[in-house]
Symmetry: C2
Subunit: 119 residues, 2 copies
């Protein structure tokens, strides 16, 4: 288990990848949209909105929490989930960086007239 290949990549690439991975499941996207829609951050009502079991939803929430996209505040017997402003700011910044790089590259392509590669 020692000497992960992952260590060979930059910290930023790993960070972006981890965030993207967390976003890489429809259920988690749906959860995030739900939390965004109801500014009031509900808790296990999420379970009833999704076609998944309680334990599965809990795991998805755990993953989202692990990468900092979601916060869970304990409110009596229930837990109140909401979007984490800090995590989202970071996420937007990291993706914006990636998108900028790719966009300028694509613009360069278009400028060159070629519809695809310029080799």
């Amino acid at each position: 288990m020692a000497l992960h290949k992952h260590d060979q990549f930059t910290a930023e690439d790993q960070e972006v990848a981890a965030l993207a991975k967390a976003l890489g499941h429809p259920a988690r996207i749906a959860i995030l949209r739900l939390l965004a829609a109801r500014q009031s951050c509900i808790c296990g009502d999420i379970v009833q909105e999704l076609p998944l079991s309680q334990s599965t939803v809990s795991q998805h929430l755990k993953e989202l929490k692990a990468v900092g996209l979601v916060r869970g505040d304990i409110d009596g017997p229930r837990v109140c989930y909401c979007l984490d402003a800090v995590g989202w700011a970071k996420t937007r910044a990291l993706f914006a960086d990636l998108f900028d790089q790719t966009q300028t590259s694509v613009e360069f392509q278009n400028q060159a007239g070629a519809p695809g590669c310029a080799c």
Copy 2:
């Protein structure tokens, strides 16, 4: 293999998730950055830039191609990879949509004064 739970989610959520999943690995992020940096879209030089075997890189490229982020044009015995403008436009649009939703929700939180949930 029949009756995927995935079918229960919206098409947009599935699309975003599929793209995010493709971005969910440091090696693939590194590949995309490489292709963006060298406007000249190189081919298997990627292999030498990454700490991965040729077959592994080929698989990552296949995944990126599958979701439309990358194009591979055959150029003699070699293959020339480059970013796919169409795929990236779609990706940016889908992520922008998601980011907008989450941002307005977070702004609402801040406005309310609470540092987190408002339950």
